[in-house]
């Protein structure tokens, strides 16, 4: 997407982009800013706009309990397992529904939509009982199974769209050049799915990373808390919430997501090169 964009429209787009960026980031900035202020400054009639002359006390308090690293480990394991497993399973299913026509295909697609529509809020008790019967309470595996199921429908549907977006003619052309069907698929189509895998991967990552309702009932032992459950230990209805610690903890929780994205974002550029589709 290069030569096509005229200079003036690019400038306009860049300016608009900066506005979008600021709108997105302001609350995030406020979180980071707050995490560096004293509790007194946090709730004061005159806003403190910058953390200059701030304090690292909130971060110190957050690390004091020593539970952060445990929670980070649990969250990382659950989230990465969820992303990898969900992407793998969804990818296979997406290829099936996008590239093949078979009996039951339509029912599968509709069933996925229906599953997506089920309100999950009331399900946590049944899911708890299920994990209990499988002896998977307080385990990474148990939580991962449920998370995988909750992001699968969307991931299948979205990847299906991406697979369908790659013209089958490309694969046919490769096959004419002597590739087998599998070779053709993995050499031609698979690389073009990268943006879709990144987008759905980020989706799964954030869903699993921030989930609270199920984690709070399934992971009860101190060493097995996930990050959002750990974060909630700083809210205390009886003693007043330690907002500085909440914001410091939240900032720490947000960082790995950004790191994850920066690692995968290079894959987000267009896979289709000019000329590839002239078929």
């Amino acid at each position: 997407m290069s030569k096509r964009v005229s200079r003036s429209s690019r400038t306009m787009a860049n300016l608009a982009g900066i506005v979008v960026f600021l709108l997105c980031v302001f609350p995030v900035y406020w979180m980071v800013n707050t995490s560096l202020l004293t509790r007194r400054e946090i709730r004061s009639p005159d806003p403190t706009w910058t953390p200059l002359g701030g304090t690292l006390d909130n971060y110190r308090r957050v690390f004091e309990g020593g539970q952060f690293l445990d929670a980070l480990r649990t969250s990382l394991m659950v989230t990465l397992a969820t992303v990898v497993v969900a992407l793998a399973f969804a990818f296979l299913a997406a290829v099936a529904v996008a590239r093949f026509r078979f009996r039951g295909r339509r029912s599968f697609v509709v069933a996925l939509l229906l599953i997506q529509m089920i309100p999950v809020e009331g399900l946590f008790i049944s899911q708890y009982k299920m994990l209990e019967s499988m002896q998977l309470l307080n385990t990474v595996l148990g939580l991962t199974i449920v998370y995988v199921a909750s992001v699968l429908p969307f991931t299948v549907w979205t990847l299906r769209g991406f697979v369908a977006g790659v013209p089958y003619e490309l694969e046919e052309a490769a096959m004419m050049d002597g590739c087998s069907r599998f070779q053709a698929f993995f050499k031609v189509t698979f690389p073009l799915l990268a943006p879709g895998l990144v987008a759905t991967g980020v989706f799964g990552f954030i869903q699993a990373w921030n989930e609270f309702t199920l984690a709070v009932v399934v992971m009860t032992s101190d060493q097995k808390k996930t990050l959002p459950v750990w974060l909630s230990t700083f809210t205390d209805v009886n003693r007043g919430t330690d907002w500085g610690a909440v914001m410091a903890g939240s900032t720490l929780i947000a960082i790995p997501v950004v790191v994850f994205f920066l690692i995968v974002q290079g894959r987000m550029v267009s896979g289709l090169t000019a000329g590839a589709v002239k078929g």
Binding site: R40, R43, D222
Partner: protein
């Protein structure tokens, strides 16, 4: 000084009388008992309320007295607690042995059979010395399923300097209190949101004091069916006082909640506020409050209509044993330790109202302790209806008080709230 001591003694006696006046049940239940002689007992405590000193004492003492057994305290959060208890207490493999539960949450679980019957152990745990309202709340069909852990009541913080500037003295009756609050607001026209008495719209927990004070109540047991009683003439009178305070004395947001009261207090926006004792700590801490102001801060128990302390809403926690716990005997030993004089004295020394009335004096002798004890003498609880949690869950009272703060017709609003409450409780 002597006055204070006398007060403390009187109060203790009063509490004891209060405790004795209620009737125990003499059902002869076979206690749920059993379990191995040695085990690891898991105790769920919520938030940071239980001081570290008490936790250490509990663990050490329990393990000394029960060689071979261990006791593990797992800290839980109030946030999501009901969900967590709803699930964990049903699981034989995962259930904690002993749990702390909010005193308004307890009735829901006791009537559901989540907790073991403690009736026969009650005399050993403190008997009539226990805070009776808590015991009543955890009793269903004559059986008691939970015992009080600690309580906390609110008292009034006021600004001595502002009182002096406006020529006011500490009020001794409810009427005086209302007049003082209004006068204080008028004497401080700036800032515009100054409160003679700080009362955010959602704060029914403070507002209900005035309903009780005039002889009204939130809900009453009418031959086995609970019904809202906010539209009784007595309740209406109390609610009108609340509306007067909202409109003439309070500068707090009409739909706000009572969180973080130290913020407006330290911003010189408050002349009087009713808050839990631990707010003192927040005001004293330079990080959270304004230690310089402490010299101007005084406290007193909210005065009632006749000059004795007004009925205030008592908060706090219960402890109970999970019915699914395989270690009933050991769990009961742990509960007994948590109600022992030694343990409860540690709680009292940390400002929590102890579960036993005889230990109230352990709270100390300073002004704050005196106010705590005085406030507790006439403290009340939310109605012991099994469905009460639903009323709080659907926020009927928050809605009612916000509408009253907005200046709505008290009688009409109270009637509507009664209908909704009766529906939830019926």
């Amino acid at each position: 000084m002597r006055m204070k001591k006398t007060l403390a003694v009187t109060v203790t006696a009063l509490l004891a009388m209060l405790a004795m006046s209620s009737c125990g049940s003499d059902d002869d239940n076979t206690p749920q008992s059993g379990g191995p002689a040695k085990a690891d007992i898991r105790v769920w405590l919520n938030g940071a309320d239980t001081p570290q000193e008490a936790r250490d004492w509990l663990k050490t003492t329990f393990e000394d007295q029960n060689p071979g057994s261990t006791l593990t305290i797992e800290e839980q959060q109030w946030e999501g607690l009901v969900e967590r208890l709803t699930t964990a207490l049903t699981s034989e493999s995962e259930t904690p042995d002993v749990v702390e539960v909010g005193n308004t949450q307890a009735p829901t679980f006791t009537s559901a059979g989540a907790f073991s019957d403690l009736t026969s152990a009650l005399p050993d745990l403190g008997g009539d010395d226990l805070l009776q309202g808590f015991v009543d709340g955890a009793t269903a069909d004559g059986k008691t399923y939970a015992v009080p852990y600690y309580a906390g009541s609110k008292y009034v913080f006021y600004r001595k300097d502002l009182f002096a500037a406006a020529g006011l003295t500490v009020p001794t009756t409810t009427d005086e209190f209302v007049q003082t609050a209004i006068a204080l607001k008028q004497a401080n026209p700036s800032p515009a949101n100054f409160s003679g008495f700080w009362l955010p719209g959602q704060d029914w927990r403070n507002g209900v004091t005035f309903v009780w004070n005039d002889g009204g109540d939130l809900a009453v047991d009418d031959n086995g069916t609970w019904q809202g009683s906010l539209s009784s003439p007595e309740s209406i009178a109390g609610l009108k006082t609340v509306q007067q305070l909202f409109q003439q004395a309070s500068g707090a947001p009409k739909d706000g909640n009572e969180a973080d009261p130290q913020t407006p207090f330290c911003n010189n926006e408050i002349g009087m506020m009713s808050a839990p004792g631990w707010v003192t700590g927040l005001i004293q801490d330079p990080d959270t409050g304004c230690p310089d102001m402490m010299k101007n801060v005084g406290v007193f128990a909210m005065p009632g209509a006749d000059g004795s302390p007004a009925p205030v809403l008592l908060g706090g926690s219960d402890i109970a044993i999970s019915a699914k716990s395989p270690n009933q005997d050991l769990a009961q030993k742990a509960v007994a330790l948590m109600l022992s004089d030694d343990y409860q004295s540690i709680l009292a020394a940390n400002g929590l109202t102890p579960a036993k009335t005889s230990l109230a004096s352990q709270l100390g002798t300073d002004e704050f302790a005196q106010a705590t004890i005085a406030a507790a003498t006439n403290a009340k609880l939310t109605p012991a209806a099994p469905g009460w949690a639903t009323v709080e869950g659907s926020r009927i009272l928050e809605d009612l008080f916000v509408d009253i703060a907005k200046g709505g017709d008290v009688e009409k609003l109270a009637k509507a709230a009664d209908d909704r409450m009766s529906q939830e409780l019926g």
